[in-house]
Symmetry: C3
Subunit: 350 residues, 3 copies
């Protein structure tokens, strides 16, 4: 990583996050971890961070973002942005140090555009993108190279599709979304009936509707609905390699970590957090503020907020094996325990 040649004054960053500045208004060249900070670095403590507190004495950072409680532990030669939520303040500051140069407005000469497409003059469409008929791309939309947009799809203002995203026909994406590379949105749902000769495909007539401020991770797949739309509401964030099946709806601001699968027609509420590699069955209703632990398998509807889990954490093989072997005799153990209780009852009552 080369050292960026530009810097931002610490006071400007403090203002941007509504934090109070203690000490010198030094120029900040980069964001760093406490451990690897150097002159010109701004760093911060996560989480409340007791194990990292000792690093306050040794860090070479020029400035730190700290909660009021930690400020006094920080040597006076280090400037401090004092913030009630240092992690949030840090997140807001990352924007100043993102060095990605956005592509210019306009269509690369190799772009193939269908009939009756409406592409804003401020939109940027990269090489080898293919835009279908009746597609709308809003102001400042960016399509990186190799994206394919199906007929009748709409992408609203300020949304970015990274390289090689596929939208099928009739997919709607709102404003300020970020879709990472390799995502597929609008593929047919896995819906089939069965007759004597085999599987009979259900052609899917619904679309996919994605709200605003949604982020979707690399190679994630979202299927179109059967008769109605698959729905991702505003502010949802989805990680890499997530599978969202047909007719699913995901409520606003719900977060879904990587490798998770959500089966068909399940409705997930607002402000939920679904851990990585969790799997949620079909036709369920999950309420608001439900948290699912990573790698859990959900087979029931949960309407109440709270944490739900079926995690079995890995143990050394010799510990795990002998206990797992007993698991398959658990029913017999329960019956033997009941027998003992009965015999003792009888014995003592005589």
């Amino acid at each position: 990583m080369s050292h960026p040649t530009t810097s931002v004054n610490l006071s400007k960053l403090a203002d941007a996050v509504g934090g109070r500045l203690r000490g010198a208004d030094c120029p900040i060249f980069k964001l760093s971890t406490l451990k690897n900070a150097e002159t010109g670095s701004l760093s911060f403590l996560v989480p409340a961070g007791t194990q990292n507190r000792s690093l306050l004495k040794t860090t070479r950072a020029s400035a730190l973002i700290l909660s009021p409680a930690l400020e006094q532990d920080c040597p006076s030669h280090i400037s401090v942005i004092i913030s009630d939520d240092p992690r949030l303040a840090f997140a807001k500051i990352t924007r100043f140090f993102s060095q990605v140069s956005l592509p210019q407005a306009g269509l690369h000469p190799t772009v193939v555009v269908g009939e009756h497409a409406h592409i804003a003059a401020s939109a940027s469409v990269g090489a080898y993108c293919v835009i279908g008929d009746h597609v709308t791309l809003g102001e400042n939309v960016i399509l990186y190279p190799g994206c394919t947009i199906g007929n009748d799809s709409v992408i609203e203002a300020n949304t970015i599709l990274q390289a090689r995203v596929t939208l099928y026909e009739k997919v709607r994406i709102g404003k300020h979304c970020l879709i990472q590379s390799g995502v597929v949105i609008g593929s047919d749902g896995f819906g089939f009936a069965h007759d004597k000769t085999g599987w009979v495909k259900m052609f899917h007539m619904g679309g996919v509707v994605i709200g605003s401020h949604v982020e979707i991770g690399s190679n994630t797949t979202i299927d179109r609905g059967l008769m109605e739309d698959t729905i991702i509401e505003d502010g949802v964030i989805i990680d890499n390699l997530v599978q969202i099946a047909h007719n699913v709806s995901i409520g606003a601001r719900t977060a879904i970590a990587g490798c998770t699968g959500i089966a068909g027609s399940t409705k997930i509420g607002q402000d939920c957090m679904i851990g990585g590699a969790a799997n949620i069955g079909g036709h369920l209703e999950i309420g608001n503020k439900v948290y699912i632990a990573a790698t859990s398998s959900v087979g029931d509807s949960f309407s109440e907020p709270g944490l739900y889990t079926s995690v079995m954490p890995a143990k050394p093989n010799e510990v795990w094996r002998k206990n797992a072997a007993r698991f398959l005799y658990l029913d017999k153990m329960a019956k033997r325990l009941r027998d003992l209780e009965k015999r003792l009852e009888e014995h003592f009552s005589n």
Copy 2:
């Protein structure tokens, strides 16, 4: 979703599914759920659907597909297609309402074609596809934009590849298949030996052979075989983000739901159903009509038909945690139980 301007007469749909028509032969404009149906909608009841039976009284659908047992519950102003399998009849009818316009025959001028390729005149190859040497594309094959077809691959008649599908060299796909976007078929299997310096790659010389009437979901991956072919038989349906390793064979009409992984050299029989996010180990033999519950982990060969499972459904954290903690003492519990039994035996026998 705009209202389609075309309609299909109900009698035509009844004929198409071999159902008996009760009531008026009204025009059907769309398929709808019972709940959201409106004038011009055809709807149906799934499953046997006791919880939805009350909707029969209130639905605004013009027509329904019902089993003979439910017909009498349906108000007389609603037309009915009477069918022994309403879900199957519905599936067959979806075809009439799919509004996707297929691309025209011919090669887009940007298509790159290798030497000695045989492409049927009726085939359609979209923008920016790259076709290798000695490739055959059959009658009515459709490749959406951005597909890459390796040397010596064959795609038979009426098969469709959605955008950005990759076939490596020597992949064969039969007739009437549908491959969704982002699928990769024929990548190298994960086969390595180990020497003192690290991993030694096994170059894979087998191919992939896919039968007819196969459907494969978005971003699914299927590796080529080491010395022989990876095989997917006729009528298999595979959902999104499924991993099928080298030398696997999948029997006819088996269904595999999303996020499932099947490890190398495993043979799966015909008419199996593999639930979502199940994982099946390597070098196993799974018989015909074996059903694997979603999220199960299969480590043994199962020759007998039936349902196999290792599902642990998620529970509220306070319920789960205290029981999961005991799991790691299950072996000790079993021994303590045995001790108690022995002592009581001795006590009572004295």
Copy 3:
């Protein structure tokens, strides 16, 4: 699969693997399994292979790779390469029978190249690749069609990217790597803070650094780091559909099987083996030579070498169900067992 027209003399293969040749120096046309071998085939026994030993009597292979212990069981009309590690010897020999024809050096006329790119004259860049600004492609690098390489990325000599690989900006890949189709490297990590209105994105300023002799499977995703780089060391092998989150580091020669997910900031040591569909939580430290069983869920740091597992293998539903039902009463069972023990203690002590 057509019969290759070229052959390799067995003595040449024996020399290549440092094995001793017994019998005739016959021409080898193909590598085969013992079962399906024919005249001209070279085969071998895996594993130590007691169940396949009987095939030695019936195989039609012209030659075999065998350990010294098995040589005497092999009929004298079959030539033998005697090797202490037949599987390793076989792996080394596969290279001679790989029939993939590599593309020619040079840029396809459709390649789009940014400013200040350095592309070696011996590199081959396929149709519709898009190369960003300040990109370096080393000697003999091969990019198959449809790859997108972000600004400031570097691919060192002799590395191959299969079709439709995406590298974001500032991704470094070492020498002799093989990246399969659909891989995405350098997408934003799933890092967000939370304020009253929803999620606040952390812009990711780190890159991804991949060593030499690394292989990465189809549709795998590797996110860039937040402030520092995500790191994959030399000789690591990664299977299909694996998710590697931001700031992860993977030690040299570690193998990761398909469908596995590794959450953010976790450090994995050298020479580890992670089974398929395992999931490893965030901010953990896994030592060298740790083996994780397939489908295990890792929630703790493991510093000691050895096998760790939380596998629950699938069983017939009637066996599983009754035991799983008891699991949710395990805490109560433990308490009842303790009660019985106490009562017996009291009883016998009176």
